[in-house]
């Protein structure tokens, strides 16, 4: 069985790494997690975002949940919000697309235009 005592080890190990990081404002990713989002599969999207960010060691991007954004038919919806407040809304997400958004948008700064809400309206 795991015990709380193991946390002491983790604390020692991670404390040094944390102090090295700069905490400048980065992107904010918001995942729609109301009934509509969860039923459409928002939880695996959120998990994929978090895991991909950790895999790439990106620490200045926060991932949070929000309620219903208002376009239930396009769920799961995520919003990538820049520090200046402008945002990109991605719709009909899944875990693979979430990984792509991290790789292309978050890391390389290229918006995945084919996944945005604008692209879904054209179809």
């Amino acid at each position: 069985m795991k015990s709380l005592a193991e946390l002491e080890e983790i604390r020692k190990k991670t404390l040094e790494q944390i102090s090295l990081r700069t905490n400048k404002d980065g992107l904010r990713i918001v995942v729609g997690m109301a009934t509509c989002g969860i039923a459409a599969g928002a939880r695996p999207v959120m998990t994929a975002l978090l895991e991909e960010l950790k895999k790439r060691n990106i620490s200045n991007v926060s991932v949070t949940m929000t309620g219903c954004i208002g376009v239930c038919k396009l769920e799961p919806v995520i919003e990538v919000i820049n520090p200046d407040g402008s945002k990109v809304t991605y719709v009909k997400m899944n875990a693979e697309k979430a990984v792509r958004v991290v790789a292309e948008h978050v890391v390389n700064g290229r918006v995945c235009t084919d996944l945005t809400i604008g692209a879904s309206e054209v179809k």
């Binding site: 190990k13 954004i69 208002g70």
Partner: protein, 188 residues
């Protein structure tokens, strides 16, 4: 909703919206009475009597985008379809408690699903909230308290990857230990 953990996430979202600072989840299974009981209690803003009366209606919601709210009614339906019951208690400024009971062996009972993923998801999303998870099967108990973890961490955020991995494994072990063999979908 495909499983109970997704319903749980939906209900927890309500507690977050109600600005709760402490949210407790209790799941207890009893093989003898064939019941599994989900209880979610929060200390959020609560509801007044009028709102409480109609909260299980799909046409009741606090949101402003439209007049439909399905979280609570769907959870109620899932319980009642599985031979169970659904109760909700609340008082303005005192918090809310949601209690759903399911018959474990009922054909229409949804599987438990990934409770760990739900808990880790809400912790990562609102690490400042005190998250408590208690599991029981009448014989044994398991409990997790995010504030206990934070206390032990002394300055390391609970959202750190190593910590969250530990939390995941810890809760997974608890679920296996408590519900393994009790719920047929969990192998002991």
């Amino acid at each position: 909703m495909r499983d109970l953990s997704l319903h749980l996430m939906d209900i927890l979202q309500n507690s977050i919206t109600a600005k709760a600072s402490k949210i407790e989840v209790k799941i207890s299974a009893d093989q003898v009475s064939d019941d599994i009981i989900f209880t979610v209690s929060d200390n959020g803003t609560g509801m007044d009597e009028d709102f409480l009366k109609q909260v299980t209606s799909p046409f009741t919601t606090t949101r402003t985008t439209r007049k439909i709210g399905l979280g609570v009614p769907l959870f109620k339906e899932a319980a009642e379809l599985a031979g169970g019951t659904f109760e909700i208690y609340s008082a303005k400024n005192q918090g809310t408690t949601v209690k759903a009971t399911f018959k474990i062996s009922h054909l229409d009972r949804l599987p438990l699903g990934d409770i760990t993923e739900t808990m880790v998801g809400v912790i990562l999303s609102k690490p400042e909230t005190q998250w408590v998870l208690q599991l029981s099967n009448k014989k044994d108990e398991f409990s997790f308290d995010s504030y206990e973890v934070i206390d032990k961490l002394g300055g390391v955020p609970i959202t750190e990857y190593e910590v969250i991995t530990w939390v995941k494994e810890y809760i997974d072990e608890g679920i296996k230990f408590i519900f393994g063999g009790v719920l047929h979908e969990i192998i002991s």
